[in-house]
Symmetry: C3
Amino acid sequence: MAQPWALHPDRALPAEPGQRAIAREVYAATADLPVISMHGHIDVGAIRRNDPFGDPAELFIIPDHYLVRMLVSQGYRNSDLGVRPLEPNAPFEADHRLIWRRFAENWKLFRGTPTRYWIEHELVEIFGVTEEPSAETADAIYDQLTATLAKPQFRIRELFDRFNIEVLSTTDAPDADLADHRALAAEGWGDRVIPTFRPDALFYPHRSGWRGAIAALSARSSVDVTDYRSFLEAVQERRFAFVAAGGLATDHGHRTANTTPLDAADAERIFQQALTRPVDAATGEAFAGNMLFESARMSTEDGLVMQLHPGVGRDHADAVFQAYGPDNGFDIPEAVEFTRSLAPLLNAFGLDPRFRLILFTIDETVYSRELAPIAGVYPSVKLGAPWWFLDSADGMARFRELTTETAGFYNTSGFVDDTRAFASIPARHDLARRVDAGYLAKLVAEHRLTIDEATETAVDLAYNLPKASYARRPQQ
Amino acid sequence: MAQPWALHPDRALPAEPGQRAIAREVYAATADLPVISMHGHIDVGAIRRNDPFGDPAELFIIPDHYLVRMLVSQGYRNSDLGVRPLEPNAPFEADHRLIWRRFAENWKLFRGTPTRYWIEHELVEIFGVTEEPSAETADAIYDQLTATLAKPQFRIRELFDRFNIEVLSTTDAPDADLADHRALAAEGWGDRVIPTFRPDALFYPHRSGWRGAIAALSARSSVDVTDYRSFLEAVQERRFAFVAAGGLATDHGHRTANTTPLDAADAERIFQQALTRPVDAATGEAFAGNMLFESARMSTEDGLVMQLHPGVGRDHADAVFQAYGPDNGFDIPEAVEFTRSLAPLLNAFGLDPRFRLILFTIDETVYSRELAPIAGVYPSVKLGAPWWFLDSADGMARFRELTTETAGFYNTSGFVDDTRAFASIPARHDLARRVDAGYLAKLVAEHRLTIDEATETAVDLAYNLPKASYARRPQQ
Amino acid sequence: MAQPWALHPDRALPAEPGQRAIAREVYAATADLPVISMHGHIDVGAIRRNDPFGDPAELFIIPDHYLVRMLVSQGYRNSDLGVRPLEPNAPFEADHRLIWRRFAENWKLFRGTPTRYWIEHELVEIFGVTEEPSAETADAIYDQLTATLAKPQFRIRELFDRFNIEVLSTTDAPDADLADHRALAAEGWGDRVIPTFRPDALFYPHRSGWRGAIAALSARSSVDVTDYRSFLEAVQERRFAFVAAGGLATDHGHRTANTTPLDAADAERIFQQALTRPVDAATGEAFAGNMLFESARMSTEDGLVMQLHPGVGRDHADAVFQAYGPDNGFDIPEAVEFTRSLAPLLNAFGLDPRFRLILFTIDETVYSRELAPIAGVYPSVKLGAPWWFLDSADGMARFRELTTETAGFYNTSGFVDDTRAFASIPARHDLARRVDAGYLAKLVAEHRLTIDEATETAVDLAYNLPKASYARRPQQ
């Protein structure tokens, strides 16, 4: 029998001994820093209720679209992995032990992926698993995890402390009542769990669900939303409600980075049309671009930091979308353009000291060509961390390599995770700290930076920059 | 005098000693595996007849567009290097010793290129040359090679054994009679040399030669091709003939990845027009996109694996095309788009367990943005190996770095060469095995993978994956 | 107190000891070679007059758009850094010591950037500064620099010798009188300082200033420029004047790489319209594309090497452009296309032995996809060095990695700086030599090249190739 499964203390640090020694020293300065998690998708209700995590399939597999998509790529259907179809009577695998076995048997598919790195970290470091997943070990690990997850110290708020999370931002609909956030605040958790305003559903009038989102906005706000003007008022009111509940940022997932404003009359006409009859995609996209512009304007007033991540072709497989709904692994990136698309917004607000914009991409070709030059000159702009498919060891290394020489370190936001899986938060932050340590170690080893500079920079990237990038504006 | 020219056993492995030691161990597990060569351009007739290779210029220079293009880039004309103009009376260099000298004198142009790596491997390892090409050594090497090439053990089928080629796929026109493949099968070589169905000439009705290709299809098949419907029937019949002759795949070199189907009536109208009068480029491209969709449909029926490689601007220099015809070094890549282009095809067939699609690109920007996400979720899709300009040490390393974290290793096809030069096959497969060993060694050295996992993965990439990716479907 | 600030002799060489040892040897062969500086922006008048450099803010900060943009990205206005607004009465910081302090206090922003590398080199190596810039050291360094800059051996022509500059090319307007160049020639400096013909202002008829540029051209030439034909004559006459003054090249900064020629009648119509009334942007861009074609044609006649660098979105922030004019840090790259855009030009002149074209980009995605394949076959084309944002340690390394395997070393121009800051010339060339040595050392360490080949190649890249790429044609 092999020795017990364990995490190597030098994992994901550079292989070359000289750089590794430097990287170890740099990493050590950040390893125990608190976690600033400003862009997550954890359910605030689960935190307030301090829900247990359920069984291993419920924790690790069914809700993790990274993991499900990899198994789907080798022939499983989503439903084989416990993903519930929308159609009430459609079959899906309900045997969670069997689902876990399917994952364990296919462990090799994840070689070289961040999923492998994260889950290895979670199983070993958090849950004390000592054997690698495989057909042979699947049942024993399942039983061990089940027993562990039943313990009180493995509930979400206990892990919150263990993970050293200083602040975690959730992502919330514009009509969220924010009651859970208020309840948490009443318990003294108001600075630890804060909401983020995510209004995408309101901004795409050609998509199904838009009228419902408008109705919900109208119901939640004090404004009767009947036209474009009242719509803007209601959006602004909800933003202020998020500010009051501790919110620091908005989040915008758009098809493109278009930010061209519309004449108020045109926006009104589109709005009215969408209330009663279909709007074509081009018109809807134009309205969405206009709303990015308006969102930036509102940010100059209420101080919410604007986060933008364009370029994802959502729900590429119609059949999967019809069967299971969105977010089931079939989102595929597209080429994205920032330089011209952001020009209207940046010309209006880019030099305004009240405005802050954090840009994310999953199209790496814009790192050195567009994003680093934009963030390297506009005072309002910072580059967000590598995101989604790029939140990985090699992906993060490329981000630094392709942006630092033009934008430096101090026009980036520092590490921002994008987590749906709560238990993966420490692994993700730890990996980012290791990769940044490795990049900085290379600069030190090549005599382009001193070790003291590298260490200070690493601490900034892990802690100070994410805090400062989302901090409330002083005079607000 | 320097010591004799030799291949270093550690060539193309990582320079850092720790990674090199690991890479050596990983590479050793693959070095002697049989060669699976599923995407080549070797003439099947030459194999059947067991042709000799001719003189050194005929073997190494005149038919090698990589090599010719590099010498052209420094001022030689194609005809200076023995490439025969189409015009019967046009002059071209017929002195093959002189052509060889031109190459040898310019050996330094190839520094850092895969051509250098391959030819060095061939000269040293296969032909026993002990001096580097130069003005001084050109004649002696020419004489030695000439003598060696005359020996019976240097004929193609003897080298087939020496190269340890388990299976080699040729590329064949849709009207190929497949007689050579049948003759080889009769000699017991039926599993070693198989055809690939390459119907591009039939799919672009605006290109010169289309009517001739249709006529040849009609003549070869039992179908009288007079309209779109009979055209599809004839194509399907020919595909079945390829299946019967051992074929496992089709191959499609398109300008774009467009796969939008046409109404049958529209396709019929274009087809009829093209039979009698010119079709414009946009119409022709639309027809080609439709035919990719139809080819995918046929693949679900006959089981042929579909290979697609879009994005090459062919014959960029009109004068060279006029003088020498296609494939003379002036093909230049263009930006290519997969996410939207493949949506029609993947929505129709992407989740069908009978369908298999292998995607190739020479636009690296789509590796992490589009190809890895597509292959990382669609069960029908695998990523082909880095191809053409990217079939190189650094190019292959970038492929792994940019695709593995999203698609893993097991959504790639393993190594697939694209060889016109038979003698370069061992060098190409050897280089791929070394580069993959180096990438895997990095993961091991960074404690992201164990050495056992790395070794198993290397064997899969070199042998098991290419075999499985093109294997005949079980229930077919 | 720490030990004095110093440059490490191995800076920017590979960290791994084996590669570093090789890189040291390769670099040593190039470290003392003369500087060939073929693409600079130094004011020829300053050279002729042998101007002093002014104070530290005037030398290092105010005119350096790299440095200013980084400070602007963190909240300074251009005017805070001494950049003078166009509006005569607008305020700007006139206290140069204070400007220097602002820079010194923000030294950390430059970590990992080429600005940091260059300025560190300049301060230590050229000016003998022994402390790193900081709030504490700012004043002392300012005083030391002020004293040093006052010494006669720190004037530009003395530094010209100290920097070992063999030839420096300036960039000059088409109506430049070239008097300073002639005066320098009369002093025996005719081979050391030569002009470059930069006609962009004449080629974009929709831009403000075009009529003025045409008038200036008409005034400077012997031709009365009243129509398109006389315009071409005047351009050609001025090009010959540049040839007579020692010029070797033209330089073209275009929005795109479009080179489609216009009918003479269409060009004439646009020209006439632009003389009297506005021309829209599309028409203006078409004229500019035509003028690239015409410039290539002229190059075949007068032998000037054509340099083209498309893809910069100029003056992204309107407010900064209105306040300060062009070139103030807000130029942002855009995606660029070469394959189709250059087809008209390359089909007309690409195989002409009299024509030479050097291509630059700041969109790295075209390196392996388009530029290396184009330069790797067209005899007239060479790839220029990584430029602007990419003239950096990692940027130059990526250039070699992404172009060498397809284009080799000998289809590149060797190192070409693009310097506005005279004192940074040695640092830039030194960094390029180190990075190329590192890339070559990797090839040697991986047994893909011998040390002798690497050393010869390094010397070619640093000296012989830039000389040859711009050399006057023999029979001219």
